[in-house]
Symmetry: C2
Subunit: 285 residues, 2 copies
């Protein structure tokens, strides 16, 4: 049986997912839907999708799987547009970077959270966006977190898991709140810190001067500040509580570092730096 | 004439400098000096230095150029040890990451700041240390900042500039305070933020969990947290005032971001992220 897959938002993530499906040799039919005919035509030209439509109702008609790969801020409106047309048999999933907010958007947009809706999030990405940045191995060897709810249909979870495994990803299940907290710490906070640092330096009088002396460490550290500002605004709004919690913790740590520097407390500084280096070397290498 | 060069501290920076000199085909004699015979013997075995001594007095005897490549915290004691033996003709220079503090250490250690002392700092490095991490192209295409004082002998500055240019580096002169402020912003602050972030996460209960979900962005962002804790403690102590100034500015910016997230102020977040992305893309690519 030929699966019919509808992708809403054929950008970096949606496009890479489509390419990975094709690469895995699946003979699905992949239909793209978003706002801009230009973007969709490009996706078709690049061989990412088989066909496209600007009409959400048409996109989900007879779809077996519908994947939402639009920005977090667009999840609810897309759900509203497909609400009357989505078949109860269809599996619905998404790739949003924060989960509680997508679940709420689905509830608002569809009027309920369907048992065949499986919230998902691939821990993979680049600082680029749009379909031209998509590539078929983006998820290979990366983790994908699914956060099914209590009433989620286990067969739908298995189907979504199976599709992700075709991309080479390693799938794990997690509670919604845990996902949002873990990602706030490992992804959202670092992005906010990097954006903040570059903006702080860009606001200084010696701006040009300053960036001229940025070495490799600075470039690596701030690479994520080249990420899509709209996506990151959406994430900050969508995962507000978890982000504020980890930011408060971090600001406390930073204050402790500041105090140690003020007091010339070399032992305390050394202790913090050694703990950090040990953790970084143990977990990231 | 065969120049005699003495390197105090044949680690990542001192060792790479020696290798670059050799690579440039100079027929200097390079003498290494530090505390550990093991380290020095390794440096000789790796072909980084011609010979070594544990005796600072012997190391500087008849030296034409003396380069201090020891940790910031060791600069003063090394100067004390060579004080009675350094010829007034010898050129003295250093590679320390903060300049006002090295100048003060030289003043304390030698009892004066000799006119042929040329403070210097290569904007190059890796998160590794020790002579085994040294390589001859470390400075190639990178900037080196010299911060001569008013009474510094211009011919000494030119000699040091010429040696650095042999490594492929681009040499610039800068005022001491300007150097320390610029580096606090582009190098010292990012390192402190990265150490702080990893330590903050390592302190959380779900530690193992959390690092498992760290993606590429996190790894790049925190790579500098693998740097030598002792060196970074020294830098924090040595460049305290400039670091505290930029940390205060950054903490204000972070508070502004926190408030914007608290208030769900998407426009403000988007504005900050867009400015940061524009600056990052303009200056770092
Ligand atoms: N980038 C990452 O690192 C990353 C990682 C994991 C998860 N995610 C998540 O993946 C999702 C997509 O991110 P991305 O990086 O792939 O973004 P992207 O490359 O900008 O793609 C977003 C796509 O959504 C479409 N779109 C935007 N607004 C829409 C709307 N109102 N209705 C219908 N389509 C709309 C856009 O096409 P049109 O302009 O034609 O509408 C575009 O194709 C987000 O939810 C994000 O949180 C991103
Ligand atoms: N790494 C960077 O990214 C970077 C970049 C620019 C500038 N710098 C500056 O370069 C200098 C050296 O840094 P590095 O990264 O090359 O460090 P490193 O690889 O650890 O080398 C330091 C060397 O100094 C010697 N040393 C340490 N304490 C000493 C003492 N009390 N007396 C004599 N020798 C001593 C050590 O050898 P023994 O153990 O045998 O004594 C070692 O060979 C520092 O001032 C740093 O601020 C570093």
């Amino acid at each position: 049986m030929k699966l019919r897959i509808s992708i809403f938002g054929v950008g970096l993530i949606g496009g890479s997912w489509a390419l990975a499906m094709r690469h895995a040799g699946m003979t699905h039919e992949i239909i793209g839907c978003s706002r801009s005919e230009n973007h969709l035509a490009e996706a078709k030209k690049l061989g990412v999708i088989d066909r496209y439509t600007l009409d959400p109702a048409e996109a989900v008609r007879d779809a077996d799987v519908v994947i939402l790969a639009v920005p977090l801020g667009a999840m609810q409106s897309v759900c509203k547009q497909i609400q009357a047309h989505l078949s109860p048999q269809a599996i619905l999933t998404d790739v949003g970077s924060a989960k509680a907010s997508v679940i709420e958007a689905v509830r608002q947009g569809l009027g309920e959270i369907p048992p065949r809706f499986v919230p998902g999030h691939p821990i993979a990405g680049t600082e680029k966006s749009g379909v031209s940045a998509a590539f078929d191995s983006l998820f290979d060897g990366r983790r994908v977190i699914l956060t099914p709810l209590e009433h989620t249909d286990p067969s739908a979870v298995n189907r979504v898991r199976g599709l992700w495994e075709l991309t080479g990803a390693q799938v794990e299940l997690m509670a919604v709140e845990e996902h949002d907290q873990v990602l706030a710490a490992t992804s959202h906070l670092p992005h906010i810190l990097a954006f903040g640092l570059v903006d702080c330096l860009a606001g200084m009088r010696e701006q040009e001067e300053i960036f001229r002396y940025a070495a490799g460490g600075f470039k690596d550290f701030t690479r994520i500040a080249s990420s899509d500002p709209v996506m990151w605004r959406d994430i900050c709004l969508a995962n507000r509580e978890a982000i504020l919690k980890i930011m408060a913790l971090y600001q406390k740590d930073l204050q402790q570092l500041t105090t140690a520097i003020e007091q010339g407390n070399g032992d305390e500084l050394l202790g913090i730096f050694q703990r950090a280096k040990a953790a970084r070397d143990r977990f990231c290498l």
